[in-house]
Subunit: 275 residues, 2 copies
Amino acid sequence: MTRIAICAPSTPITRDVAERVSALAATEFPGLKLQFHEQCFVEEGHFAGPDAVRLAALLDCANDPQVDVVWFAKGGYGANRIAVQALSAMNGAARDKAYLGYSDTGYLLAGLYREGIGQPVHAPMPVDIRREGGEDAVERALAWLAHDTRGLEPSLVGEPSVAFNLMTLAMLCGTDLMPDLSGHVVMVEEVAEHLYAVDRLFFHVTQHLRGIAGLRLGRISAVPENDRPFGTGAEEIARDWCARSGIPFLGSADIGHDAANRIVPFGLARTPARS
Amino acid sequence: MTRIAICAPSTPITRDVAERVSALAATEFPGLKLQFHEQCFVEEGHFAGPDAVRLAALLDCANDPQVDVVWFAKGGYGANRIAVQALSAMNGAARDKAYLGYSDTGYLLAGLYREGIGQPVHAPMPVDIRREGGEDAVERALAWLAHDTRGLEPSLVGEPSVAFNLMTLAMLCGTDLMPDLSGHVVMVEEVAEHLYAVDRLFFHVTQHLRGIAGLRLGRISAVPENDRPFGTGAEEIARDWCARSGIPFLGSADIGHDAANRIVPFGLARTPARS
């Protein structure tokens, strides 16, 4: 039995999300046991509770020796506000776990990877069940936890990899949460940003990523209409800034803010340890 | 006679802006001579011409020994794409000038300051004449160039200062354009960003600004409505992140994306050398 504890380090989910994900898991993955922390449903302003409440819930899950996996319920914004404190309060039990999420929860995945705590994994989250085709996304994450590797991002081969939302990675650069990504394939995706903002983010991140093995571009989706066209597309933007910084552009990555978002275990790809 | 060359390193202005600013200068500041470079009116996609065209125009202005001041016509986005090349191609004449602008042109002000080239100045731009009360903004910049110091940001005292748009500063951090701001008062302002994005930007910049003398908060204006309130205001956000990073929060700064935007010469405040 693999025990999966779910908390919301950024913004809350609703109970129907938890019910639908729990029902799906119970039917299709009898070897997985899901526990939604009550904090997932707390709302305060923008966040799933105040920083102290989100931090406590994350530590409840991470430091519980009975728990094998911590699954982040949803992104949004806020994980960066508790990440440093969370990492410094994690115990030995936290080191034996996988941590799954993406988007804003990338701040935690980055910090965990930097500190060598557990196995951070870019993967769909419970909230994805609300997307069109979202059951497939949730199943992909659960199947990977049940040792089915078909959901892995297909380009993963010999080199260590990471995957981030582009804005999240830009905000991570140079901070106490940023891991050393030398020699890594770095995959990025973005949603709901203008192309000029994507260009600006690539300007920033490529200067911080010198020494990586290469960059792969996930989907840049839901780009808002601007008052005029930017003039080039997302791939041309990524290629341009990679060329300027001497970073190999390696092509596309099958990740994004959508139901097709694939799994990228940070470091070298592997299935979670059997428990 | 002070000769002011105007170019557009980011996005274009229209001819009516140039005409109105020229008329105002001719009437009120007979000691100033304005020259709008034709590149100010070029449009290509998002930009005031391709990178090469914007770069060439900037160097036409900066490297001309007959020119005393380079005034950036408008922000938008794009100055970061040509800044490194511009700095490396600037000649001795470029070192004797003041450079005025704000918002996206902050990439150039930062790079100039880093390289010790001329006098970078956060100041209103020609495009500001289109704002309500915009003539006051344009007059403020021109008056400063005519040795009237009343438009200076009022908190400027003994310590070296800089002023930036918050997003621009965030994107500058850790790049080849970022100056050493140790011991400086850093003023920031923002427009049209959600408060969660402002929080995220402060998370990023405060980690890069350790060692500054302190931070002052300009106006955070035109904040879009979000699907829910953030929960705190801009000043509380700034105070929080300053406290977390050990940066003294010094109060407000009289800068912003508006007609009241005041002047901040980078480094120690002074009027331009008489020419």
